[in-house]
């Protein structure tokens, strides 16, 4: 079923919308959740919560790209769950590694600066992503949006593993420089 037809079901408050969404995007959303959580039950829970969130969000929303709309919900839910599970201890898995890597991008703190607002940070991050060459941006998003492993990214873009690592290293360095230049405090 096409996205427009699924969205029509949501707008008509026809519960068939959830079935069709699950059929079309179940695996996609599960993959996002599992990359972050590495736990089947938790991932299933986040995916089910995604359908519920989508049901209450549409309408009034009518997303242009349903997959990304759902994927974003799943990502946020999964990360919240991950934070909750790892609040007291350092976890394992790809999410932990991805965060370790992103730590390199955090600019040095200045005591006189207030932390940037979330909306402003999102805007700046988007600006930054648009400055990147296409491939570099793609690799960065696969790693830090989808939390894909290096070899998955290498396979997706038919790149050598070392190239993926180098690309990510360079982009993290650029991001840090960008945030420092913008005077951002996290």
């Amino acid at each position: 079923m096409k996205d427009t037809e699924i969205l029509d079901l949501y707008w008509a408050r026809n519960e068939q919308a959830i079935t069709e969404t699950q059929y079309s995007y179940g695996k996609y959303c599960y993959s996002i959740a599992f990359h972050i959580l590495h736990d089947r039950e938790d991932s299933d829970e986040c995916v089910n919560d995604t359908w519920l969130r989508a049901w209450y969000a549409i309408p009034p929303k009518r997303p242009n790209k349903l997959s990304l709309f759902l994927g974003t919900i799943t990502r946020n839910l999964s990360f919240d769950k991950w934070k909750h599970k790892n609040a007291l201890k350092r976890g394992n898995g790809e999410m932990e590694l991805a965060l370790d890597e992103l730590m390199e991008c955090v600019p040095a703190a200045h005591s006189t600066e207030d932390a940037v607002e979330a909306a402003e940070l999102e805007r700046l991050i988007n600006n930054f992503l648009h400055t990147l060459p296409e491939r570099e941006c793609n690799v960065f998003l696969r790693r830090y949006w989808y939390v894909e492993e290096y070899h998955e990214i290498a396979e997706r873009f038919q790149m050598n593993l070392n190239t993926v690592k180098t690309s990510l290293f360079r982009t993290r360095t650029k991001l840090k420089a960008f945030l420092e230049q913008e005077g951002i405090a996290l």
């Binding site: 974003t72 979330a118 998003l141 190239t163 180098t166």
Partner: protein, 324 residues
């Protein structure tokens, strides 16, 4: 900045990425590799063509021979206009000759068919290996000074020899080469490692007679994590606790770290260098302390040292790194 603050910052960045533009996310889907029937069908098409060609040629040749040989036998006989009372033996000879010719020709043709099959097999092999070579990674392996086998991939990613000036000019990695060396050391070798044009690491060696210092610079990856040393456990990195050969004296469970430990920048000091350097009585060589280790900088860069020098000299060498 504390680790906790950095971590909180990293989590904020991760959350902020949720609002990445849809067009960028969509673009990052990329193109998944699809089995290309057409790529491999070149081989199959070649096989089919050769088989058909070979069969057709063989079949045609046999038809020609069969019709031609009888005609050849008949024509001379007709043209000879031998008297009816022709010598039967002579006629038999002609027929025998024709049969012999047939047999000879069949043998020749069989030999030629075998040759064609061999040639086509060789040809097919060449096609297959040429196609495989396009996809096959050339296993060009090199062991870096940090003891890790480094797979450089295709031959075009082989290390590039550069001079010291060029290596110091390398973006990011060049800044981690020491600017001060012990007295008497001169540059002797330098390499840049790359992958599809992007620098993945650099390596420089300086020498003074039999003594040498090699510094490798590359990016830390998750695969290095197992070698990060806990300085509260000297048994995992202190060479003075063990006898040479270390492979025999160091417990197996510690070997992976002991072989080339990584020390965090915050842990790295004179005591660590002392723990990794040892004088070795070696006939024909100097007794300058020697050893190797790696330092992980907060920036995520790894700087590996391998060579000889006093603890103070090596400490000064690391202090001269301008990047930090």
């Amino acid at each position: 900045m504390s680790d906790k603050m950095k971590r909180d910052g990293a989590m904020r960045l991760f959350e902020a990425l949720s609002s990445a533009d849809e067009e960028l996310l969509e673009r990052s889907e990329g193109k998944k590799k699809v089995f290309s029937f057409w790529k491999y069908s070149k081989v199959m098409a070649a096989c089919v063509c050769l088989v058909v060609l070979g069969t057709a040629t063989y079949a045609t040749t046999r038809v020609v021979n069969e019709s031609g040989s009888s005609a050849d036998c008949a024509a001379p006989m007709e043209n000879m206009q031998m008297p009816k009372e022709a010598d039967a033996a002579a006629e038999d000879d002609v027929v025998a000759d024709g049969v012999a010719a047939d047999e000879d020709w069949a043998a020749v043709e069989e030999a030629e068919a075998e040759n064609r099959m061999e040639e086509s097999s060789e040809f097919i092999k060449e096609i297959v290996s040429a196609e495989n070579a396009e996809e096959e990674l050339y296993d060009y392996s090199m062991q870096g000074t940090d003891g890790v086998i480094m797979d450089w991939g295709p031959i075009e990613n082989a290390p590039e020899r550069l001079d010291e000036k060029a290596l110091r000019a390398e973006e990011i990695f060049g800044d981690y080469l020491p600017t001060e060396l012990p007295t008497g050391y001169i540059f002797t070798d330098g390499n840049r490692f790359s992958d599809e044009g992007a620098t993945t690491g650099i390596s420089v060696t300086w020498s003074k007679g039999l003594d040498y210092i090699t510094v490798d610079v590359r990016e830390y990856t998750a695969e290095d994590s197992y070698r990060v040393a806990d300085i509260s456990k000297p048994e995992t990195y202190n060479v003075h606790l063990y006898e040479i050969p270390y492979a025999s004296s160091v417990p197996d469970e510690m070997w992976m770290i002991f072989n080339n430990p990584i020390f965090r920048e915050s842990d790295f000091d004179l005591e660590i260098i002392e723990a990794r350097m040892k004088r070795v009585e070696d006939a024909g060589d100097t007794d300058t302390p020697r050893g190797h280790f790696t330092v992980l900088y907060d920036s995520g860069v790894l700087v590996s040292f391998s060579g000889k020098g006093s603890v103070e000299e090596i400490w000064n060498l690391f202090q001269s790194i301008k990047a930090e």
